[in-house]
């Protein structure tokens, strides 16, 4: 077990930068997810930690060692690959024991460890099977068992659940998380699936165009996104473009096409008449007919343009002045206005996030 420190890590190919300066401190035993769309540099970052890609600049530290120039086999890290990379010519037991053989563990100890690991990943009795005889989920478990057979200081996982169907993926998310907690292995996980990232991670690093846009707990990233990209990538959200015109009562005042709106100051510091974006999650929006707005509420009037029933909730699209579209989520039991009805949408200023405009 160990900490990982990425120090201004960069990878450039000719003129383009796949990773453009990533600095991260990962705590001992932490589960950190690199989340982002394809091409954001998350896999390149992971491969630089593994040692498969040499950084153009910056350092990689594992514990107290600078491993930047060390080959993968000397870093004492291990990886669960997207395609599992199980050796097709070896049995499950031989796959799991592969690294133990390299470390010259005695035969009896290898057998004991293999049995113990198969117990851990709930595949006892599968020693003699070949990978081609296992289902996707079972191959995944064997790949995990192989990666931790000789406990690595850091475990890397590159979209390990990408090839599984939804139900199995959810079960494996819980299982991997349980095992990671139980073993306390520092883990760096790569995914483009925001739900998976939220469910599994201690902290998430949202990546875009080779940079970390925001680093924080799932709650912090969801409730207090730092950039438009982070806000839009994790969950769904409404953006309202405008101009910050002032500051009063612990709130910024923002002039938008739908009128004057407010956002609690939070941590952002904005001076003068600056272009900004307001962001608010659809579940914080309410429809009310009563005009009981105080200073702590934002209010926008509009017409219901579309609505869809999704079982546990109803999604509405409300069109307001200035071609603004707001997505509203109501619980299924709430009163559901007909399409075309004039409604008033309101939400607390405390749930309104002020972001610098891109």
């Amino acid at each position: 077990m160990a900490t990982v420190r990425l120090d201004a890590l960069e990878k450039r190919y000719d003129t383009t930068a796949a990773v453009a300066g990533v600095t991260l401190d990962i705590a001992d035993g932490e589960f950190l997810t690199l989340l982002g769309p394809s091409g954001c540099g998350k896999t390149t970052t992971l491969r630089m930690i593994a040692g498969f890609i040499a950084p153009s600049a910056g350092r990689v530290w594992i514990g107290a060692n600078d491993v930047t120039t060390q080959p993968p086999q000397h870093r004492d890290v291990n990886m669960v690959f997207q395609d599992y990379a199980l050796f097709p010519h070896l049995t499950v037991a031989e796959n799991i024991a592969f690294g133990l053989v390299e470390r010259r563990a005695p035969r009896a100890e290898r057998a004991r460890r293999v049995a113990e690991l198969l117990e851990l990943v709930r595949l006892p009795g599968h020693e003699a099977r070949y990978p081609s005889e296992l289902s996707g989920g079972q191959q995944q478990r064997v790949a995990f068992a192989r990666a931790i057979a000789h406990p690595p200081r850091v475990l890397l996982m590159d979209e390990p659940l990408g090839a599984l169907d939804l139900k199995l993926r959810e079960a494996m998310q819980e299982e991997l998380r349980r095992l990671q907690r139980q073993l306390g292995i520092t883990t760096v996980y790569v995914t483009h699936d925001q739900v998976e990232a939220m469910r599994m991670s201690d902290r998430i690093a949202v990546m875009n165009q080779g940079r970390v846009e925001q680093l924080g707990t799932p709650e912090a990233i969801y409730e207090r996104p730092a950039t438009e990209f982070a806000a839009g990538f994790v969950g769904s959200i409404n953006f309202l473009k405008g101009r910050c015109v002032g500051h009063e009562d612990g709130c910024y005042i923002v002039e938008t096409a739908a009128g004057r709106l407010r956002a609690d100051t939070g941590a952002a510091r904005i001076a003068g008449a600056t272009p900004v974006t307001l962001a608010v999650r659809p579940e914080h929006l309410r429809l009310d007919t009563a005009a009981g707005a105080d200073g702590r509420e934002n209010r926008v009037d509009g017409q219901v343009a579309a609505s869809s029933f999704l079982g546990n909730l109803v999604q509405l699209v409300v069109r307001a002045a200035g071609d603004l579209e707001l997505r509203v989520e109501l619980r299924a039991g709430d009163r559901r206005p007909p399409d075309g009805a004039t409604v008033s949408v309101s939400w607390p200023t405390a749930k309104t996030v002020l972001l610098p405009s891109r």
């Binding site: 080959p71 990886m79 990379a85 050796f87 592969f98 390299e102 192989r146």
Partner: protein
């Protein structure tokens, strides 16, 4: 209605079958009649030609020489060709396809021209011998002509292109992630090669080696031109028996023996590989 495309297959199939089986059976049939020299055959069926081959040390040593040289070529081709194929298959450089294309192009240059090049290179006044003599590494010109070593080099010139091309395809089917996984599990490069790449390419290695072996068993040009009448492999001997001595029945017998030996060695190899656990898993 389904299109009967398979009907198109029949004319070429029948034509090549007629040409192969027809000519070969007429030729090989000759091996069962007594050889009366100057192109005449006896009229009674007999196995005396086969008995002669089996009991005459001259023919047996020619057969052994052919098998031995072919096996040597397989070993050297493997030693040189496998790493080349592996490196080409794993190269990320833009040069990799160009290098492979060059290799394929050289494979298609006719063997006569290649062997002629070798003969010139190794001639007493040739570049190689002049350099060796000048460097004092030898006091006699080194010659390939009429030596077993020369024939092996000539055969390799002809087989290595095929071998690299075949194994290039095999290595390309092994996912790179398997090697990376082995590396992370603590294996240094040579252990990764030994425990992952070799077992996974074993079926490909065996078939490529058999292709090389078969090419060598039937190779006439290199053995005839470089052997210069001193290295008498079976193909060379068959040509001499038929063309110079006009002993058709004996030539046919030698051809039949060569064919049967080749078939037997191939079958035994394939059966032996079938018993290898690793190879079975990879094919499955």
């Amino acid at each position: 209605m389904t299109a009967r495309w398979h009907l198109l297959m029949w004319p070429p199939l029948l034509l090549s079958l007629a040409l192969l089986v027809g000519s070969q059976s007429i030729f090989l049939r000759g091996s069962f009649f007594a050889d009366l020299r100057v192109g005449r055959l006896g009229s009674e069926l007999t196995l005396q030609n086969y008995w002669r081959v089996a009991s005459d040390g001259f023919y047996l040593s020619a057969l052994w020489l052919t098998v031995r040289l072919s096996a040597l070529v397989v070993v050297f081709t493997f030693v040189l060709g496998y790493p080349t194929a592996y490196i080409l298959a794993r190269m990320r450089s833009v040069w990799a396809p160009l290098l492979l294309a060059l290799l394929v192009a050289t494979s298609f240059v006719t063997i006569v021209i290649k062997v002629l090049g070798l003969v010139i290179l190794f001639s007493p006044g040739g570049l190689l011998n002049v350099s060796l003599l000048w460097l004092g590494l030898t006091d006699q010109p080194v010659s390939l002509r009429g030596t077993e070593f020369g024939v092996v080099v000539g055969l390799m010139y002809f087989t290595i292109g095929f071998f690299v091309l075949l194994l290039y395809g095999v290595v390309r089917t092994i996912p790179r992630s398997l090697e990376q996984a082995a590396q992370l599990l603590g294996a240094p490069r040579w252990r990764v090669f030994w425990r992952v790449v070799v077992p996974l390419s074993l079926p490909g290695i065996i078939t490529s080696a058999l292709v090389v072996f078969n090419l060598c068993m039937g190779a006439f040009t290199s053995a005839a031109l470089i052997g210069a009448g001193r290295i008498l492999t079976l193909p060379v001997l068959i040509q001499r028996t038929v063309m110079l001595d006009a002993r058709y029945a004996m030539g046919a017998t030698l051809a039949a023996v060569l064919l049967l030996c080749g078939l037997a060695i191939n079958l035994i190899s394939i059966l032996a590989v079938g018993r290898l656990k690793a190879a079975r898993r990879v094919v499955a």
